[in-house]
Amino acid sequence: MMQEKIREIREEIEAKIDSFDSSRALYEFRKTFLDPKDGKISQLMKGMRDIPKEDRPAFGKIVNEIKEWAAARFDETDAKMKLIELDQKNKAEAVDVTMPAEMQNAGALHPDTLICNELIEIFAGMGFEVFEGAEIENDYYNFTALNTPKDHPARDMQDTFYVSEDFLLRTQTSAGQIHVMENKKPPIKILSPGKVFRSDDDATHSPMFSQMEGLVVDKGITLCDLKGMLDTFSKQIFGEDVVTRLRPSYFPFTEPSVEVDVSCFECGGKGCKLCKGTGWIEVLGAGVVNRHVLENCGIDPDEYSGFAFGMGVERIAMLKYGINNIKTLFESDVRFAKQFKS
């Protein structure tokens, strides 16, 4: 009778144990036999009290055997099933690793800012402060104080936008020099970046562009100091192998005035498309500060001397990054802006 029941349980288990499709269902099935309260095998134990005392040990042994057998049988099946299930889950969760990442793409600074920052870093290390002047300037500061009086032909070098008889859009950041020198006594080492304006509008000229102007005034400053500083600067911004060349030029506010060329960093001076075959690239204008300019600012030109240099920020950006049209710098085209991550 007892043997019969155990055989039935065993057959019932064997008949269904491999037919489940989840470990959860298997667990439910297991409970119908092994639940400590309601399980069929647990129930068998409850029949113990109806068994004569002398038969109880044997009975217990049989029930324990079936219980252990069932537990082992379920554990083994469950382990197999869990493996299958894990495999299925992994498969279901598998991703196409080549799909794009999800992230917040950072923006970027304007190329002018990148160049200005680079320049400022170089010159700040040499002890320069940064001074930003006003965009609308007085005629005096933009021209007259810079040794360019009203009838001076140099005024024709730059076509000026006027906003009134006396006020204009500054044509050069040099205007800021005067404000600095009027308010600060030497030693002066100033870098002044900013927007400047000239009435010029074609493929290579924009009516607005940025300049970076440098000014040093102290005792005994010479043209050699200018050359030394520009050598250092050129190497830092264009590369260690670059050399500089000074050649005569003219600016009303410096004398002697020079154009500064750097050896072509593209071809190393052999001549290429970038340097138009000359081996040299013009990067800035400079010179020894004209004594009239110092006088105009109340600095004694017999005691102090100085030099100044100025460059077009866009020109440097176009050279360094290979930008071919100055206009693109002021259009904020997404495709343009994205190329200046740094």
Partner: protein, 805 residues
Amino acid sequence: MLAPLSWLKEYVDIDVPAKELERLLFSVGFEVEELIELGKDISGVVVGEVKTCELIPDTHIHICSVDCGDKGTFQICCGADNVEVGGRYPVALVGATVYATAKDHVTIEGVMTIKKGKLRGVDSEGMLCSGVEIGVNEDMYEGGGYCGLLVLPKDAPLGADVKNIVGLDDYIFDIAITANRPDCQSIIGIAREVAAVLKKEFRMPALDYKTDGKPIDFNITVDAPDLCPRYIGHYVSDIEIGKSPAWMRRRLSMVGINSISNVVDITNYVLKEFGQPMHAFDLADLQNSEIVVRRANKGEKIVTLDEKEFELNENNLVICDGKRPVALAGIMGGLNSEIKDTTKDVIFEAAKFARDNVRKTSRALGQSSDSSSRFEKGVDEYSTQCGMARALHLICELGCGKVSPWHMEIAEKAEITPTQLKVSVEKMNGVLGIKVPDDEIVRHLCALGFEPKIDGDTLCVMVPPYREDIDGHVQDIAEEVIRSYGYDNIVPTFLESAKVTCGGLTAEQKTQNRVKKTLCSQGYYESMFYSFFSPKDLDMLRFAEDAKERKAIRIMNPISEDLSLMRTTLAPSMVNAAVRNLRRGNTAGRFFEIASIFEAESLPLTSYPREHKMLSISAFGDNETFFTFKGATESLAKEFGIKFSYEKGEKQYLHPGMTAKILCDGEEIGYMGRLAHDICDELAIEKPVFVAELDYEKLSPKFITNISYTPLPKFACEVRDLALVMDEAVTCHAVEDAILSACKFVTEVSLFDVYRSEQIGKGKKSMAFKLVFTPDDHEFTGEEIDGYVNRILKKLSYTMQIELR
């Protein structure tokens, strides 16, 4: 400035190739913008003599046998009407390059290579050429303008390169002259520099003339000496108007001037050679035998040589006879006194007119000439005398008139002499930072005509009278010396005598960089737009007629109306950028700009305007919402430790339901919102565009840029979520404020869900907040937190009718 090599050679012995001279000029500050090689496109053209010449029947073509000396004899077909036996012509041999001309035989269409060919079935080995085909015109070479063959001299050697014969073996230097060297706006000015750089002698052109003409009773008065510091008049009689000699026509042609007649050509020749504009008046047309230089009367009229009429005013200087203006001073002569074929007597004028007056008149009238552009650059007084003498010399040389003894020169300062200048050698070297050897100083200044002498530390020079740029200081001399001695001699040093200074950015400049970086980290790209914009931009964003943005500073001479106003708001530039991107197919973008707007106290400007720094931000594209855009301003608030509050706002160009005023510490610092639908429609854009504009100058002082540490809380924080039901009108901000003020242990409140349903009720919404409780002196128990939550809920219910869902 155009300077032909052959012309320069008249004043200096040039023994270096043109290319080398270009390099040398560059090294002393004269950049050759273009070195024009005259016969560059022509090769393989030699002198040939036609030996036989037979007409092909029923055609205009001749079969010629052409002897080209050592090059051989060739059969060449020729269609020109002036071919004849015994004539010598340019022969383009097979393989030669010459200009191809259009059917008119005048227009050059390109360069062609001569091949063996057949004309009407007859072999032709080469081509007989016209002047145009080898690149010469009538002025360059006599007969060069004829559309038939160019006739060469009988003695031209057969087989010789024709370029040497017609003067195509020449170069023209197109030189950029810096504004301080107007004296080099002349062939002799350049020649002086060439002589100096080659260390050769400069030969001054002849200035002598013989006065065998008749005297005259004539008078000159200058009523405006401020505008005319020197005026020289000279009478020449017995003029015979005719053609000028070939050499003069050729030179004028090479510098771009057409030959007109001997007298007019002389004035142009002197303009180019000495840089001195000249004018010649027909004496017969000058009334009352006088010239008066004066300011024009208002409304006075003149018709210039090119038959244009101008109405003048007192800002214009005119040359008048006894009755009327006969020339616009320095710009152009009057039609009423021009040189004609019948002219017999002329008054030559050489003057110095104030450059800014010539410039102003020229600009105001829109009338210019070679003369006016020369005056604008500045003519020195010395050249007026030389120019007049040279013109009179040329009259004699050409034999086209008799120079009268009548000469009148009116000038403030009668004498023109070199000025002496003494400077310290040590100071001069001090400017440069090197010690230029004394003998080098002397050698270079001597070559430049400064007659230097060194005595101890004193350098004494005589400044040439044409060097008005030298104003008497050591820097002038230092520049002349180093320019010639060579900048390669400058040894780099690194501020050996300067004091050490402390450089770097100010705190404010550093902060601005951090603002930019913060916005970049949120995906925004930095923009830079023009500081000026268009009145249409203000219309586009519907600024009212009396809006302060309309009180923009106007540029008096803008490039165009679209670039005529200084910006009073940065928003239009941002909107335009979004529109431009969308039209170019860029479907999304994020930008920001930090720039100044310009606010005038009064217009027109009499004092510096306020330049006010603003920050504008924009985002556009399908994925942008009001709240993604708010991320930009919030990222700034987080980065700089400040708190923005947002209130529903209004802006005429923004969406009425998606506009916020941005406040910080109770002060309004800007606004943000979505571009209004109807404006988007007008601009034909379909994607949402968001724009914000913040007052950067109000904002940046609020930034907390110093780091201050708060010790970590000792006890763990507890988090509770609350879903609250309230009226639609209740804002998120109001609920957050109420919660924070109800319990001091709540250190953070954040919205994480908004839910609406029928169950919740019409006009109601459910907002779910996460609350963080931070204990101060002991760990919170569950009961304690429940107590705080209850207190919060009671307050919300009592004051705002907000209930727990």
